[in-house]
């Protein structure tokens, strides 16, 4: 830690200096704090408030408090005949919501697993000395640099059923026997989403893992090689344990990012119930179906899920609060 700290042999002048530094630190922090309150804290609080009201897009200023009605609400009606019917409403009993939750989890787990494995492979390659390493590192940055909307469109074109090059390639290689509408067919749309997201995110994963790999001192490998340890054993027994902290941070970070996915799903497979995620369904309710309150309830639930995960990230990732990740 490089900040200037008071020493035991403090003189009054030194104490005054430290107090002055702390005071100016808070002055320096004020613009950021005020900005974050305006653009983040307040909108978040209002979104949570809307989730407890019957707000709609046009009439949100007159939104009425309805408690947890958007989340769960049951009403029992007694008919004239004496029979009773109970209706349950709210996000927590909404099949479409749970479908979106399932899609999000499915997508998150599968894509992050694939991205970690492939990212690890690419990172190991980039960590080796070979001719053309610079070109490979530059090339893998390309998918990362392409805007998500653009990659969704590019892949939408490549995965097109009649004109797409992927079908052509797979037909030529006899992997498939007929053309598949990857994005439009409900059976394949999730595969398409996972594939495109993996393509786009492996570079990021690889670079984070590579940063971890480069922290491993070379003499560790040298010692292992002198002792004649098999490379695969070296990986499992030496490399993996040493990069585990970096790997954990990368995985949890990616998972958080995957669970809030919006653009790719929204553009590549619009209106597919097989891929609709929590972010997509929540925005759809707010702005397309004019149920601002109901959609806010969904976005609040997503927020709570991610809050729990961020807390886990802080604990497992051993984040160093002096700034930076260890």
């Amino acid at each position: 830690m490089s900040a200037i700290e008071p020493t035991p042999s403090d003189t009054p002048i030194r104490n005054q200096l430290v107090a002055g530094r702390v005071r100016s630190a808070w002055i320096f922090l004020t613009p950021m704090l005020v900005t974050l309150i305006i653009v983040a804290a307040w909108p978040l609080a209002r979104s949570i408030w809307f989730s407890l009201t019957d707000a709609s897009l046009l009439h949100y200023p007159e939104a009425k408090f309805i408690g947890l009605g958007n989340y769960y609400y049951s009403k029992t009606i007694t008919m004239d005949s004496g029979a009773t019917t109970t209706t349950m409403k709210g996000v927590l009993v909404d099949g479409a919501w749970w479908n979106a939750v399932w899609n999000t989890i499915r997508f998150g787990l599968v894509s992050v697993l694939l991205e970690t494995l492939l990212g690890m492979a690419v990172a190991l390659v980039l960590n080796a000395e070979f001719k053309g390493r610079g070109i490979v590192r530059a090339a893998i940055l390309v998918p990362w640099a392409i805007p998500t909307v653009v990659s969704a469109k590019m892949w939408g074109w490549m995965l097109n059923d009649q004109l797409g090059i992927i079908n052509d390639l797979l037909l030529r290689m006899h992997v498939i026997s007929e053309k598949i509408a990857w994005a439009a067919d409900a059976n394949y749309s999730m595969i398409a989403i996972v594939a495109v997201d993996t393509w786009k995110t492996v570079p990021f994963m690889a670079l984070l893992i590579l940063a971890g790999l480069q922290q491993v001192p070379g003499d560790v490998y040298e010692a292992a090689s002198i002792d004649g340890v098999h490379p695969i054993k070296v990986f499992w027994k030496i490399t993996l344990p040493l990069i585990r902290p970096a790997l954990m941070v990368a995985v949890i970070f990616r998972l958080l990012d995957a669970l809030r996915i919006f653009d790719l799903v929204y553009i590549l497979t619009p209106n597919s119930s097989q891929t609709k995620t929590m972010s997509v369904i929540s925005r759809e309710n707010m702005f397309d179906f004019d149920k601002l309150g109901y959609g806010s309830a969904e976005s609040t639930l997503l927020f709570l899920v991610l809050l729990v995960m961020v807390t886990l990230y802080m604990k497992l990732g051993r984040v160093n609060f002096d700034g930076g990740v260890q």
Binding site: M32, T35, A40, S47, Y60, V125, W144, A250, R260
Partner: protein, 279 residues
């Protein structure tokens, strides 16, 4: 130790696969963008025709909407970055160089905000943006993008500043320099590389953003940014997706990014791993 030939071959085969899969989609977008008319309906792996018709159409037809979108993107991303760097630098100085109570919690909160699901603030932002009267203008985007550019900037700059030698600052304090002088006269000149990297990453994030742009500007052609513009591109015939146009537009908005990323490769990798942030 010489490796057997089959291991070397397998290694290079994997390397080639990694490179080809990474660049092929963009290559394919480029060759598609040069095709027009019926050439679009033939699947080819190598460029066959060279026509700039798609580029001409996307730039100059449709009343210059796409040019307007491009300009909006540049404007929104630039202003967002300048604001974030301006507010972020002083905050990062306080967070990295001064020890005070609550610093850990503050840093944790900032990291938390940068991992926020954007949809969680969407309804509240909508209300604030309506209240400020900036709905359907590019100001709504500059306002809302600060939610991810600012925490990211503060976080990365804090990690950069933490590593600057403490002696510099001590010498300045002995000479009676105020914190403001320390930041502007001593740290800022040393911070340029970090500011460029952070600014670039924040610029890319703002350039690529879709959810806020779709929600806050989609009903106003003149305020849209390119991601929304591309997503909403439609041809003269509403039943047919204008793939040639879309690919030309995609190439136009991506080439500057790829050039920037390749030029600043090393810095970007350093910034990404410091911030642990996806663009």
């Amino acid at each position: 130790m010489k490796k057997p030939w089959y291991q070397v071959t397998a290694f290079y085969a994997f390397v080639i696969f990694v490179v080809v899969q990474a660049v092929f989609p963009f290559y394919y977008a480029i060759i598609t963008s040069f095709k027009s008319g019926t050439a679009l309906f033939e699947i080819t792996y190598l460029p066959t025709t060279f026509s700039l018709q798609n580029y001409y159409d996307v730039l100059f037809k449709g009343n210059g909407t796409f040019l307007q979108n491009l300009w909006n993107s540049v404007w929104v991303a630039s202003v967002t970055v300048v604001v974030a760097l301006f507010i972020g630098t002083t905050a990062a100085y306080a967070l990295s160089r001064v020890k005070f109570r609550g610093r850990g919690v503050l840093l944790m909160t900032i990291l938390g905000v940068s991992m926020f699901p954007q949809v969680a603030v969407l309804a509240g932002l909508f209300e604030v943006i309506q209240g400020l009267g900036i709905y359907n203008t590019d100001w709504s985007l500059i306002f809302s993008y600060t939610i991810f550019t600012l925490p990211f900037t503060v976080w990365v700059l804090t990690t950069f500043m933490r590593d600057l030698p403490v002696e510099l600052e001590e010498a300045a304090i002995v000479d009676g320099a105020t914190p403001w002088v320390i930041v502007t006269k001593i740290f800022l000149p040393l911070m340029w590389p970090a500011l460029v990297t952070t600014g670039l990453l924040a610029f890319i994030a703002a350039w690529n953003e879709y959810l806020f742009a779709l929600t806050f500007t989609a009903s106003n052609n003149a305020a849209r940014t390119v991601p929304v513009g591309i997503a909403l591109l439609s041809g003269s015939d509403s039943h047919e997706i204008p793939w040639g146009l879309i690919m030309a537009a995609s190439v136009l908005v991506t080439v500057p990014l790829i050039v920037l990323v390749l030029i600043f490769q090393k810095k970007i990798i350093a910034g990404l791993t410091a911030g642990g942030v996806k663009g």
